[in-house]
Amino acid sequence: MKFWQALKEAIASIAANKTRSFLTVLGIVIGVGAVIGVLSIGQGAEASIMGQIESIGTNVIYVFRGNRTEDVTNPKYLTTADADALANRARAPHILNIASVLSGQSSVRFGDESAQTSIMGVTGNYAEVIDLKLSEGSFFTESHITNRSSVVVLGPELAERLTGRQTELIGTTVHINNYPFRVVGVAAAKGGNQFSSPDMDAYIPITAMQLRVKRQNVPNAVDFLLIQAQNSNSIDEAMREGRTILRASHRLTSRQPDDFTMTNQEDILSIANSITNILTIFLAGIAAISLLVGGIGIMNIMLVSVTERTREIGLRKALGARKFDIQLQFLTESAMLSVFGGLIGIGLGWLLGIIVGAVAANSGTPLVPEISLNSVLLATLFSLAVGIFFGWYPALRAANLEPVEALRYE
């Protein structure tokens, strides 16, 4: 029998038992749907995280207090003095800029409206380091820092929330922690991400932060430092220079481990990447188990079908069907069933991705599920393989029926 005839017969046979065929492939539908859904959401999440990490700014090295891999007793706080030490062109030629950050939660009030949000106490070059653009006004300067000026740059979303607008806000006053601050600028929208929503932040001079919002026990302590390397090729050198300077500034002996941690964008990118990958593979693996269950379902129904059609098989053999013809017929049928299920499953997974994307967008996290051609091809081929694998035994059983016995079967 020619292959296209087997295909035609398989379709006719599947169509003749629509309800049963659908129920048979439900396992495959759910399995493929889950795998495709998870993969598309995973890819969307990855793209979203990557995009946002990259949007923070390029060539940036983060310095945190403490060491994550080795035990350090009493790690010293990072301070503005450390930042000053790092800003030494002679000792650190590959470092372009240093920004210090002291952040905390506080209320921001404008008239009757108020919001609880992150206040970032930063140095004047923060905007430059992190590539923060302003939609109006300008970022505060060194003299604002020195004078502990009560000035603020509002994130666009925060501005909208408090005042109902994002423009013509220069010179207005908002209250942070009940101290009046004069608005000098409004940041351009950056978009939120999984870790923070910078559009809701307010930026004030780090000195004003220390004075008005977050009083510190350790003078001049900061939460973290941002080191901007000269360019993306000099990140490693900048890290090495920064490390030497900080170790000296913290008076660490050569046997003591670092009491600070430096990570760059690339590290964060690869960590985030591997986390999303592991999660995606893990979830897709769990989803794939239902493909196995679906395959067993197909095998079960194909065995029933072979028994039901014993006489038909006997007749076909009497009319000249060879073993191969019978095997081809049943294999084609199980493969078609499984592929049908896979195609419906791809649709289901796509739908799942859209729903999750919509929910994510509603909760302020932009996540665009991506269905790659690869995952569609993979799902189709995989369901084809499932159909052939689980259809093999029933088809073989059909092919090996003795024509005399089969014709006699009631």
């Binding site: 046979s13 009497a318 009319l319 000249g320 069907a321 191969f324 013809d325 003795e402 014709l407």
Partner: protein, 235 residues
């Protein structure tokens, strides 16, 4: 054999054919040495009581089963020791089956049922046209698109006969072809078989235990306990 000139080669030539079945340790000797020749254009009835081996002989002649010993030449081809797949090709090309229970596939219409053997043959050209011609030859030109459950028993059996003829086989094997039919339909089916035999010279082998059916055959072979009992010609 006086009806057939000796110069003509037999289409079915069976020598000392035996078939043993093993049921556990018990050997059932279904056929115990059959010698049989059937010539082109003959219509032969095989009769015998239940258990006489007529179904077994039918399966051997139809190449559905292989003999334990003996030779079987079908259309001058030695088929007694062919493999399964080779037998399938022989069944497809040389033999047309008509069953007691018609054995039509219920899902597909008459024309597709008739075309079924063509799907398994080498030559798959003009399948529809050839199936249509076969259906017309059994007088069902106006029922081609009907499914089996839309046809009467007699019509279904005629579709089955068309299916048996579509590959222009050397012999037509009919196993109790009227067994499931009322007397009127049975008579029509027999008339059709006789007409095929007389007008188109189709070789027909009938298995039956109905003596009135056997009366239509030129020759009746009586089987008893796996052996042929005194073949007699009925003119």
């Amino acid at each position: 054999m006086e009806l057939t000139p000796q110069a003509v080669k037999p289409v079915i030539d069976v020598h000392n054919l035996t078939k043993d079945y093993y049921i556990g340790e018990i050997v059932v000797r279904a056929l115990r040495g059959i010698d049989l020749q059937i010539f082109p254009g003959e219509m032969v009835a095989i009769m015998g009581p239940s258990g006489s081996g007529k179904s077994t002989l039918m399966n051997m002649i139809g190449c559905l089963d292989s003999p334990t010993a003996g030779d079987y030449y079908l259309d001058s081809l030695r088929v007694s020791d062919l493999h399964d797949d080779e037998l399938a090709i022989v069944r497809n090309q040389k033999i047309g089956f008509v069953f007691q229970k018609y054995n039509l596939l219920p899902r597909i219409d008459a024309i597709e049922n008739v075309a079924l053997p063509l799907r398994y043959s080498e030559d798959t050209s003009n399948m529809r046209q050839r199936a249509e011609e076969a259906l017309k030859s059994v007088g069902l030109g106006d029922r081609m698109r009907h499914k089996p459950n839309e046809l009467s028993g007699g019509q279904q059996q005629r579709v089955a006969i068309a299916r048996a003829l579509v590959n222009q086989p050397a012999i037509l094997l009919a196993d109790e072809p009227t067994g499931n039919l009322d007397s009127q339909s049975g008579k029509e089916v027999m008339e059709l078989l006789i007409k095929l035999n007389q007008q188109q010279n189709t070789t027909i082998v009938l298995v039956t235990h109905d003596p009135t059916v056997a009366l239509h055959a030129q020759r009746t072979i009586q089987l008893f306990d796996g052996l042929i009992k005194a073949p007699e010609a009925i003119a």
